[in-house]
């Protein structure tokens, strides 16, 4: 039996990689992909905890996370399409109209 902490460590590592991506990428869709990666790492941790305590709650939360990720992707990508139509770019450093 593999200790559950291994899964948790892997999840932390994936989450950190996702965070680094979300912080450093400038292409909007790449940032989005990094966020999906973080959500996925959270899913892994949830399933691992549900295994640790023999409770299904973690798995059910993963189910909800999947639905939320779908909703987020739909709205987010629609936003990117709208932004691209206006500005011809989705480089987040150039989308600074609301900055000051």
């Amino acid at each position: 039996m593999i200790p559950v902490s291994w899964y948790l460590l892997l999840s932390a590592l994936l989450f950190a990689i996702g965070t680094a991506g979300a912080l450093t990428r400038r292409n909007g869709i790449s940032i989005f992909l990094s966020i999906e990666l973080m959500l996925n790492a959270a899913n892994l941790a949830l399933v691992a905890y549900s295994r640790l305590w023999n409770a299904r709650t973690g798995q059910i939360v993963v189910f909800f996370v999947l639905a939320v990720a779908a909703a987020e992707a739909a709205v987010g990508l629609a936003l990117f399409i709208a932004i691209y139509r206006q500005r011809r770019t989705i480089d987040v450093n150039r989308l600074n109209l609301m900055r000051w």
């Binding site: 559950v4 992909l33 739909a74």
Partner: protein
């Protein structure tokens, strides 16, 4: 055997997630994400959640990520990022450092709390789909309905936002 499978797919997950965040071409990033999702789905099976593993592939890899690819191709921004990244190396290194610190701290915390204790063997009660569905549709019925509503709202929002402005009569 189980350890070997775990190590193989954990390694795959880490490697492909590095591709997700590091590759300059978003299409490769997307394919990396698919690989990560697949590897994590395998880990779900090891953790006794085969239903979630199938859902992960079906919904995440089969629909959500395809949507990403679809938009990438629609906007044709597949070639590379618009400007070279060299502008803000500081921002980049800060991001990487922050992520590393986060990973180290969380890792320490997790290891201290749970260490190398093995979990109890898998029970039929945890793995069975019937139990999961039963709990989902009784105890978590309200959140379930709310998530359904959220999806509906998201669909409407996406349609309104992505609609081409100025064309009113278009279906």
């Amino acid at each position: 055997m189980e350890t070997a499978i775990f190590l193989l797919f954990a390694l795959l997950a880490v490697a492909s997630s590095v591709v997700v965040v590091a590759h300059r071409n978003p299409v490769y990033s997307t394919m990396g994400l698919v690989l990560t999702l697949f590897a994590v789905a395998v880990l779900f099976v090891l953790l006794g959640a085969p239903f979630l593993a199938a859902l992960q592939i079906l919904i995440y890899a089969g629909a959500i990520v395809v949507l990403f690819l679809f938009v990438l191709m629609l906007l044709n921004i597949t070639r590379e990022e618009e400007a070279p990244q060299s502008g803000q190396p500081l921002q980049r290194w800060a991001g990487v450092l922050g992520a590393a610190i986060f990973c180290g701290m969380t890792g320490m915390l997790l290891w201290r709390s749970y260490g190398a204790t093995s979990p109890s063997p898998l029970t039929e009660q945890l793995v069975s789909l019937k139990g999961l569905a039963g709990e989902l549709f009784t105890e978590y019925l309200l959140p379930f309905e709310i998530v359904g509503l959220l999806l509906l709202v998201a669909v409407i929002a996406a349609t309104v936002i992505a609609r081409r402005p100025g064309i009113e009569g278009e279906p």
